[in-house]
């Protein structure tokens, strides 16, 4: 205890309590300030996200209205900006109904299972900080160097994947526990969709990780900061990874969010309201909140991974970290608008089209691109020596890679075609035998 008594001389009762409890907390490496900082960051992140969601709902309604030649909400507050608040209050005062056939415990648990991962993902996103001139984006608060994100996990971006795979539970259990058929169908669709598109999401993510050389979100942003190509084009992963992973990520991200054109989970024409048909009042508003939180968070993840997050030039006259926030916010806005634009313009796909796109296009594409990218990087780093220079070996890797890709695409196409022929042949036999003729009608 002698070595720890040093912290007692500071007169901090708190430190003494910590010292009695745990050597790591009590030896001065972690003190009251750090604890307060961590708690404050979490609270601020939560509030920022809630306000962002409130504005996002308003933004979406307003933009969709304008795209459909309507005015949209314009009564509550200036430009109708308080409409979300009014709707929220209305929802909270509605009657909370639990169906008699529902599984009560799971039914009540599901909204929180949807909400918590949506918020937790936001904690790994750097939302501000000065990354210009090789700085690492750290700011000094209370004399402590810290990043403007709740936590910079060493496995940061995997945490995003973990949370997005957990978010399925909320939807799935909500649909199942309602004890009603449309919600169940919606939730079965949801889980199939999420599992399919998570693979494409993870594979396109792997390209970014390959280029950045780190899982930490802060280091991914750092890798994209700094002098770009020719001084003008930024060193964003969007360009460094060659656009394909970005496109795949945005498409599978939209599917992961269950947003149009992939909103099969709550397709009104087919499933009434989908998985949340039986929900009302606060529980319904929690699903609503989670959905928009996920939209904001997914946009922020795209910005972090592909557009350099808060990294950007520092023009002075504002504190450096604030420039980071300005750049982050502007980039975020692009993607929020993009998601709204998708919703306003794209009709919903058919379910088999969704599965075809995920399994037969996006997954092979992102896998092939990842392998090609890895081969090119190895060649450029001079791991293989061919023709005496890294340039020659890069060309060779590119040629072999392209050749292999063409062969792979050909084989895949052949496999899909022969499988289809096989099925058609089998179906044709059935039709001849007259067992099931009507099942084939109307499939055109």
């Amino acid at each position: 205890m002698l070595s720890r008594s040093a912290s007692l001389t500071n007169g901090h009762f708190f430190n003494a309590v910590l010292a009695a409890g745990d050597p790591y907390l009590g030896d001065g490496s972690v003190d009251l300030g750090d604890v307060i900082l961590a708690i404050a960051k979490a609270i601020i992140a939560f509030v920022v996200l809630l306000v962002a969601v409130m504005l996002m709902v308003w933004f979406e309604r307003k933009v969709v209205s304008r795209l459909q030649n309507r005015i949209g909400p314009n009564v509550a507050g200036p430009f109708g900006i308080l409409q979300t608040l009014a709707d929220g209050i209305k929802l909270f005062f509605k009657e909370d109904i639990i169906p008699t056939r529902a599984d009560r415990f799971v039914f009540q648990l599901a909204p929180y299972l949807a909400l918590v991962p949506a918020f937790l993902t936001f904690t790994i996103i750097p939302i501000a900080g000065d990354f210009s001139d090789g700085q690492n984006g750290a700011v000094t608060i209370f004399g402590r160097e810290t990043f403007v994100q709740v936590a910079d996990l060493p496995v940061g971006i995997l945490f995003f994947l973990a949370m997005s795979s957990l978010a399925v539970y909320g939807i799935m259990l909500a649909g199942w526990s309602s004890g009603s058929k449309y919600p169940l169908l919606g939730s079965v669709r949801a889980s199939a969709q999420a599992i399919s598109y998570e693979a494409a999401l993870g594979l396109s993510l792997a390209s970014v990780l390959l280029v950045a050389g780190s899982l930490s979100t802060n280091e991914i942003v750092q890798a994209q900061a700094g002098e770009g190509f020719g001084g003008i084009i930024p060193r964003w992963n969007l360009i460094v990874t060659g656009l394909i992973p970005f496109v795949v990520f945005v498409i599978s991200g939209t599917a992961e969010l269950n947003r149009p054109p992939f909103d099969f989970v709550e397709a009104e024409q087919e499933l009434v309201g989908g998985f949340h048909t039986e929900y009302s009042s606060i529980r319904f508003s929690l699903f609503f909140l989670a959905e928009f939180m996920n939209t904001v968070t997914m946009s922020a993840i795209i910005v972090t991974l592909f557009l350099g997050g808060p990294a950007g030039p520092n023009f002075g006259f504002l504190p450096g970290w604030l420039w980071g926030f300005v750049w982050f916010f502007l980039k975020l806005l692009i993607f929020l608008f993009m998601f709204v634009w998708f919703r306003a313009t794209l009709p919903r796909l058919r379910y088999d089209q969704l599965m075809d796109l995920g399994w037969k296009v996006l997954i092979p594409l992102s896998l092939a691109w990842l392998l090609l990218l890895a081969a090119i990087r190895q060649a450029r780093n001079g791991v293989w020596e061919y023709g005496g220079s890294a340039f020659n070996s890069t060309l060779l890797a590119l040629a072999i890679g392209t050749g292999l890709t063409v062969i792979g695409v050909g084989l895949l196409g052949l496999a899909i075609r022969s499988a289809r022929d096989e099925r058609l042949r089998a179906a044709g036999l059935v039709a001849v035998a007259g067992v099931s003729d009507s099942g084939l009608e109307g499939e055109d």
Binding site: D22, P154, L161, L173, L215, G428, E441, E443
Partner: protein, 195 residues
């Protein structure tokens, strides 16, 4: 102290979940209890600074495998409470109980023989020296790097063989469930079925 508190809480979650898996009358509740167990294990991994393992635990087990369990439960409609008085295998409960006690006794016995500290626990249980300990760990490297280096250098053959095995298993499953008789085939390809 904090270590012990974290361990006790996660141990309670793990054991509670494990008890829930076998005690629940409802398959969905059992699956959810399994998720709780996986989470407890993930927390223990984090406590051991194995962040990567913890997240893989959540992504793979909680995020994918149990979701598939639930998927099957929902699709097959076995979610009505089953009649638990019917025993598909006679005497399996008694056998399971005896086996459980024996395994627990084996583990506890091994631990008591080994005593605290070192790799003597592995020696007592398996009769072999632990092969994991002699690796010199470079503390400066992250667990992701350590794991990757180990998987892709020393154990690359086993790693690739496992990947191949899983692929074969997937293909095998598809072949097994394929409808051989040619009945009840649903043509879901648009624009091709011109019957």
């Amino acid at each position: 102290m904090v270590d012990i508190i974290v361990f006790l809480i996660s141990a309670a979650i793990i054991l509670g979940g494990a008890a829930g898996v076998i005690a629940s009358n409802h398959p969905v509740h059992a699956a959810l209890s399994l998720v709780a167990t996986f989470f407890g294990v993930a927390v223990l991994f984090v406590q051991q600074s194995a962040h990567f393992l913890a997240l893989v635990q959540v992504v793979v087990y909680a995020g994918a495998i149990v979701v598939l369990f639930l998927f099957v439960i929902m699709l097959l409609g076995v979610d009505e409470t089953e009649d638990l008085t019917v025993e598909p295998l006679g005497g399996q409960r008694q056998l399971a109980g005896i086996l459980g006690v024996l395994v627990l006794g084996l583990i506890l016995g091994g631990l008591f023989v080994a005593g605290p500290g070192g790799d003597r626990g592995a020696l007592a249980l398996t009769g072999q020296q632990s092969k994991t300990l002699p690796i010199e760990l470079d503390e400066s490297e992250s667990d992701v790097q350590l794991l990757a280096e180990d998987l892709f250098t020393r154990n690359v053959v086993a790693f690739e063989a496992t990947a191949l095995l899983l692929t074969i298993a997937t293909v095998g499953a598809v072949v097994l469930v394929r409808n051989q008789g040619g009945e009840d085939v649903v043509v879901d390809e648009p624009g091709t079925a011109s019957a």
